[in-house]
Symmetry: D2
Subunit: 339 residues, 4 copies
């Protein structure tokens, strides 16, 4: 292997997440540099670009993608802007790491799928970064090995210390449980066929009117049953756990492990305070994997199909939540490009 080309990346979106990716590519990952920062607010783009030697700032996505310095695109703008940016990237045949969601709904996601199919090869990696988490990777390897037999059930816990003030009951599904939708599909290699949403009496920690926690049940086309506890005002910290119950054994990830301190009558350790501490390394690995694959001329990782399928499950989830019943997921046929 030769360590040569540094990949020129255009980061689209200069908000909190875009700026964080600029930092990551500049300071943490290897083999790429930020060649362009793009934001509809050109001043914001300039501010972020100013920190990076030789980095250009743009107010227009198409202009940036036309630059000969840009080899690849990291899409960190709001979801509503994704479809247009992806179609433009396809015109330039540029590889894209697209932050989740692929697009805000299943219909628009289907249009992206169709455009990528017309291109004839995959260009998109969707930012489901849990697939790059060490523990999930181990769990998947174990399930794939068949050592424990067929997975029968998957129990998931997803707890945040608190949610933003404008968080809605629907966002517990659309923003939070989307991670479990993707990870369920990936771990089991099965599609989700129905969603049920149960709502216990809300926690006193939740803002008035927010249905928090919720308990979500998926059925899959492989006959597995998946449950997800989502609780976004748990206060004590951030926790993501999964337990696969297979025919001949169980496997659990996400248990606390840490330095063990014993003092004041108690043993134990600290809980990860937030999302960033728990998954920062997964983000780093995700971006590094994308850079490495791109330099090899490959596209790996979660595909646009994965982005679409999660959007379809989300739509069923919101209906299930609203109507208080089990709702079946409507999924298009899977195109050959994604098999």
């Amino acid at each position: 292997m030769t360590y040569r080309t540094s990949l020129g990346v255009a980061v689209i979106g200069a908000g909190r997440m875009g700026a964080d990716h600029v930092r990551r590519i500049s300071e943490v990952t290897s083999g790429a540099h930020v060649a362009a920062v793009v934001d509809v607010d050109i001043d914001r783009a300039k501010t972020v670009a100013a920190d990076v030697d030789g980095c250009a700032a743009y107010g227009d996505v198409a202009e940036a993608m036309a630059s000969p310095d840009v080899d690849a695109v990291l899409l960190a703008s709001p979801g509503v802007a994704h479809e247009a940016a992806l179609l433009t990237a396809f015109e330039h045949d540029l590889p894209v790491l697209c932050e989740k969601p692929l697009t805000p709904d299943a219909a628009s996601a289907l249009r992206v799928l169709e455009a990528e199919q017309r291109l004839g090869h995959r260009r998109v990696q969707v930012g489901f970064m849990r697939r790059y988490d060490h523990e999930y990777i181990k769990l998947k390897a174990l399930l794939d090995s068949g050592e424990l037999g067929r997975p029968l059930m998957l129990h998931n816990r997803h707890r945040n210390p608190s949610c933003p003030p404008d968080f809605t009951s629907a966002m517990l599904i659309n923003d939070s449980v989307t991670h479990e939708m993707d990870i369920t599909r990936w771990l089991l290699g099965q599609e989700i066929t129905s969603v049920t949403v149960l709502r216990p009496r809300p926690s006193g920690n939740a803002p008035e009117g927010l249905a928090d926690p919720q308990f979500v049940v998926f059925e899959t086309d492989g006959g597995a049953l998946v449950d997800v506890e989502i609780y976004v005002n748990a206060r004590y910290g951030y926790q993501v756990q999964a337990e696969a119950v297979c025919e001949h054994g169980t496997a659990r990830i996400g248990d606390p492990h840490d330095m063990l301190v014993t003092t004041g009558g108690r043993w134990g350790g600290t809980v990860t305070p937030g999302f960033v501490e728990r998954f920062e390394e997964a983000y780093d690995r995700e971006v590094q994997a994308w850079i490495d694959a791109t330099r090899r001329g490959e596209v790996t990782g979660p595909s646009a199909w994965d982005g679409y399928a999660v959007a379809a499950v989300c739509e069923a989830g919101i209906r299930a939540q609203t109507e208080g019943r089990r709702v079946e997921v409507e999924l298009a046929d899977r195109p050959a490009l994604y098999t």
Copy 2:
């Protein structure tokens, strides 16, 4: 306190469970002795009684209860015989430790409740022995302390290595999940108001036709959501776990803990092989607590009401399983005797 009277116990039922209680009272617990063994098969009663110095054998329950040597009754005969034996014990005003189920259905359980009310004081302790398990006791104390706020959800796991050959899909509810019905009611201090039973594709370990595992969801009158995974052919061992998710924190019991061995590339320990190893101490404590209370002239522990309420939840559970839908629990008003 004075350590004086040894309690004379009549053990009804000389089968496996009855004989085990004879051994327990004779060899393990303190303050009581087996005064009589009763079985419709008088020879079986005689065989068991022969091991105990001064112990009489009877073929008839009423005759045994009339003996002046009998101060209390341990009812370990099959469930169908419980109602008659309990009513006879009430006639003699004898305290009874009644193995679960109280009776085989809610209607007969209601009749027992009524008879005990006519008596005007509690005589029955029902054998829900998990309430005497160290870990469940700790969990209840924590929940009752209010330190973690209100319980929102309770996740339960119940795994057996294997089930008897004649086990049916209904028995996963009636025989196994009954423990979680009682423990849910006890831990939360709430009644169960509905049951839903979900059935993933059965494990290859399960005999043909058995719906194993199942996933059961309870709602309670306090707004809590409770889920129970029941898997009776898990092969690897016996596991009972519970995790309470409260407003400000979670508490989990039943995690493996044991001598930690590291060898051959692995760290870990052994799984409790079966029911007996996991709960033998709880059985011992249950019987000791009953002996101690009886000697003090008190009746404590799970009441006939608890036995009735679980029977009512079981009936809803079986309907939920058969009809594939959420079924509401029909519960009589709670008599004053049991408040």
Copy 3:
């Protein structure tokens, strides 16, 4: 097996430990009753005996042992009184459960050994109750199985929340580390051949002048190396841990395990507050095992030889502590009665 004779026990010593054994035999264990309580302070004996139906009080050990109601002796008087009481018990050929130490020094222990040999059969079980602890039993079974190969090292931790005000630096060896002396010999099946005592700078929690903690190293005649951390003012709770390092693996007991609580940014559980909570069950099992063996006409458990050997190691330990060097243990030849 027949459950018949209740064993009449004379409890010698009506102090805190004697009274606790009276309670244990009366309320917890099965198959024995307290027939006599003996104390040089006859009033103290009477007070304790008054709680037990049909129990006599004595001021004189020999008188009590001569009673036809006494089948066995539980010796819970101060160590200085043990030798005389044991010799008297030998005269009546009574089985004795003798609280540790067997006697206060190796010379007197040797005299007891000789007396028991003249008797021609074992009568004494010494109260090293850790051998009855579940975890130590598991560890020994694993070592004996040979699965991990030969034990090479044994690391021990022994931490108390605090020590009595009159505790001396020597008592850390004589009172505390004696437990590890016995358990080392039992686990490994080897005799201790030398002792070294190291003293870090004392903890600020320790009273002025007390060398606390200390770090003790044993060598054994099987070539194993054993270290013991003893820290009797650790404040946070009571902890006893042991890790055996064998050729092909390690095994560790005494790790915290308990209900796992996650709240306020931390995961963990409570530390056993004291000695009683950690080893109460071992005490119960010890006494039950002694009652059961005695009723079968057997003597099992730690022998007078074990009591003597620990006394010999203690004497070496105190010299090692005082002289700041490695001291060899002087041990008599092991009599045939104890092999």
Copy 4:
């Protein structure tokens, strides 16, 4: 902060470790590139350099350091070559990341110290990479916080699955326990004042003649007692653990934690198979920290003084091992540059 200059690094030594650092700088870390590879075997240098775009190969250290493309030096040649290379680097005032040992003995290490002092500022970071391990960092932060009071003892375990065929009893001290020498000094902020080496009967896994395991005890100038179990043929995997016992509590790192699998009658997980899996991330962080500091014009991390002090403790350790007694460490006065 501006992300600009890529640091040109000369990697000295093109063996296994040098090649690994070339890979790390090229593929993993950010902000530097390999500008030169140096090896006395120029062909080996050329082979490694050929993989890196624009990288030169040298057979001579001085020639490489004179290159204008070289901003910093990573010294991965054998220890005997370190002194000369370091002095040459000082001539060019180049920052050096020097793999351990600084030099093979205390006398040569002192000469390096003197040369660096003549330079007047620190140029050397020594490769004690454990200081960059997440868990050790947490432990140090806790100790430094004072929350647990003063550290009294530090228990260390260091187990390798196997050792190279030519490993000697001295190398258990010089190659393996050096890590604990450094980490003890760093964690406690104290110098080691004496070393004792105890040798249990060797494991049957150890090659004939190798004293494996060994048990090493340090005393420090702060009055702490430190023990190290070193066992380099433990077979089952690689384990590094540390437990600090402080006045008011304990803290332990290195416990197994991982996906928890329950199957076949056992719960547990896999042991880290080797050194690389356990500490790869620490290596990455070490080199990244060095690159980041160098780009900021700073020198951080373990200093030449740390390298010297460990060499002095090693010399005492070897004497202690050979002579079977406690040996005091002879340490020069600490120069102002290193305070």
